[in-house]
């Protein structure tokens, strides 16, 4: 092969590889748009006023809704935030200050280990820990399972963002005689707040769609739960139940519920994105 044709060959290979990369990038997005299209096209039809205000109805009866599943998901996510965010943020603070100590290293390692555990395993864990002991599926158990899923993300995000706060800010506060705990809370954490909030929103978005751990912690409920210690319906579990059922009208309810859930999750993601951009400017 002479030099000229070899050069042409090399350029051709380069072009082919670049073309394949572009193709891969486009291909990867096809499912996203397909999912969004299907969820919107099939879900919109099922959305009505009753969908948000009524309880699920048995097969064949019209005008059912998923009101209890919507409030159920909000309850579960709320409990997860309550159980997961305070220890997560404080553990992140600890790591940013004492990450170099032995305890710090173990904590960081544990958080990384936890973030890789399948959510279905966390479901079994909370089931054995709580549901077996209380002999009842409950919103508490579901919230706890979701909190366990959130905890490592919140911890590590808080740590990373606190470390990004300029050292000079801390020195300035300490130099003014502000105690270290005030410095950490009012200066460091405050400066990092938008970033931490972003991390928390992404974690919330993730757990809002979790299904597997809820199957055996909060279970499901066709009615309004009588309290936080009773089985609680949630959007993801409701979608699952409807989707695998053989009934046409339940399928359309599943799509409508999926539309609500996807809208919730995407809104959180986009909001988190906007928040970060705002901070960078």
């Amino acid at each position: 092969m002479n030099i000229r044709s070899h050069f042409t060959y090399r350029k051709a290979v380069d072009r082919i590889v670049r073309g394949l990369c572009l193709l891969a990038a486009l291909l990867a997005l096809v499912p996203l748009f397909s999912v969004l299209y299907y969820v919107t096209a099939r879900g919109l039809g099922g959305i009505s006023f009753e969908f948000f205000t009524e309880l699920p109805t048995p097969v064949g009866e019209e005008h059912g809704g998923v009101a209890n599943a919507i409030t159920g998901t909000l309850t579960l996510v709320g409990l997860a935030c309550l159980f997961g965010i305070p220890p997560g943020v404080l553990a992140g603070v600890y790591l940013s200050q004492f990450g170099h100590t032995r305890l710090g290293k173990i904590v960081r390692f544990s958080a990384d280990v936890m973030s890789g555990v399948p959510s279905v395993t966390i479901g079994i864990f909370v089931y054995s820990l709580l549901v077996v002991r209380t002999k009842q599926f409950s919103a508490y158990a579901g919230g706890l399972a979701l909190a366990v899923i959130m905890l490592p993300t919140v911890t590590r995000t808080t740590e990373e963002l606190l470390k990004l706060v300029p050292e000079a800010l801390r020195e300035a506060a300490l130099g003014l005689g502000v105690p270290q705990w005030r410095t950490t809370l009012s200066v460091m954490l405050r400066t990092a707040a938008p970033g931490v909030a972003t991390g928390i929103m992404l974690a919330v978005a993730r757990v809002a769609g979790e299904t597997a751990p809820l199957l055996f912690t909060s279970f499901s409920n066709r009615f309004w739960p009588g309290g936080l210690d009773e089985p609680t319906a949630s959007l993801p579990v409701q979608i699952y139940t409807y989707a695998v059922s053989p009934y046409e009208d339940w399928h359309s309810q599943a799509w409508a519920a999926a539309l609500v859930l996807v809208a919730l999750v995407l809104t959180l993601n986009v909001a988190a994105r906007v928040l970060v951009r705002h901070r960078v400017r």
Partner: protein, 325 residues
């Protein structure tokens, strides 16, 4: 994927070593206790999880020993529990998913880190992240009504026509089965592999590319000779992280794999995975031994994914150090 850098920011040196714990201010002491206690919660949770999973599986571990992972029989009525069909299903579906996802993910990562124009990188990266944000159960729903019919009517007949002589692509196809589940798994792990690979590629110093380009290499040659050798272990790490995710993925797979505890050579045939048998049967199980057997499957998943994650993080971390990121 959470938008969190995969490499930790360098440690912040304590201003005055030990000052935080010192006796100068009572508030500082109390605050340091509170944060340390919170940090311990993370450790305690992992320990509690390990302990509880072991305790819940104990009955099954004692009854079946090693035959649990070598026996094919899963029969709640006779209380014979062998997890091999599920282990098989998990391995096959994850492997096929990786085979489909890895080329695409690397393409996406290269596109985002090397080829795409600067203005496109962030928005495009965001869309790839959204792919990871869609809940598993929604993928399952979409799989049942959009993907499974497509597989049944178009993809699987085409595969049979062209590659039907292989046992992999023969037998009846209903759209629900190993292959369909693997496709959905591939979609779900692509963002994980792509975003970690992208970070890994970014960590390779610019100078390596410039050196190759300066010698007259084309862009692809610069990537192949200058970037890949440095990034290799990190890219493997990205794949292992994706594998860890695929093994534990539950809902979408449960809704699409057909849920039959058979071992079949055909990818069209229905199967069952470790995660989906837990999702399907855990609430129905009433006997202690049955519950314990399901918990043991959970324990196995737990151990495997934890080990994979530690291994993957080690690989990725190595590139970060080498590349000076």
């Amino acid at each position: 994927m959470m938008r969190q850098s995969i490499w930790p920011t360098p440690e912040r040196p304590p201003l005055v070593p030990g000052r935080f714990r010192g006796d100068t201010h009572r508030g500082d002491r109390v605050f340091s206790w509170i944060t340390a206690a919170s940090a311990s919660i993370v450790i305690l949770t992992v320990l509690a999880m390990t302990g509880q999973m072991l305790a819940s599986s104990w009955l099954s571990l004692e009854t079946f020993h090693w035959s649990f992972i070598t026996s094919l029989e899963w029969n709640p009525v006779t209380e014979q529990f062998g997890a091999l069909p599920f282990i098989f299903g998990t391995i096959v579906s994850s492997t096929v998913a990786l085979a489909l996802a890895v080329p695409v993910s690397f393409g996406v990562a290269l596109f985002l880190s090397e080829l795409a124009p600067e203005w496109l990188r962030n928005p495009f990266g965001f869309l790839v992240e959204l792919l990871a944000a869609v809940p598993s159960v929604v993928y399952g729903l979409w799989g049942i009504f959009a993907l499974a019919p497509l597989m049944r009517e178009t993809v699987e007949p085409a595969l049979r026509a062209s590659l039907g002589f292989l046992p992999l692509f023969s037998g009846p196809n209903q759209g629900y089965g190993m292959l369909t589940a693997s496709v959905v798994l591939a979609i779900m792990i692509t963002p994980t592999i792509a975003s970690v690979s992208r970070e890994v590629l970014r960590a390779v110093p610019r100078a390596y590319r410039e050196a190759a380009l300066g010698l007259g290499a084309t862009q692809w040659e610069a990537i192949r000779t200058g970037v890949f050798p440095v990034a290799r272990s990190g890219l493997v790490g990205a794949v292992v992280l994706g594998l860890g995710r695929a093994l534990g993925e539950t809902m979408a797979v449960t809704m699409l794999i057909g849920n039959r505890a058979d071992i079949s050579a055909s990818l069209f045939a229905p199967g069952y995975t470790m995660a989906s048998v837990i999702a399907n049967e855990f609430t129905e199980a009433t006997e202690d031994l049955y519950l314990s057997a399901l918990a043991e499957i959970g324990l196995l998943l737990f151990i495997i994914t934890v080990l994979l994650n530690i291994f993957a993080r080690f690989l990725v971390w190595r590139v970060g150090r080498q590349g000076g990121a």
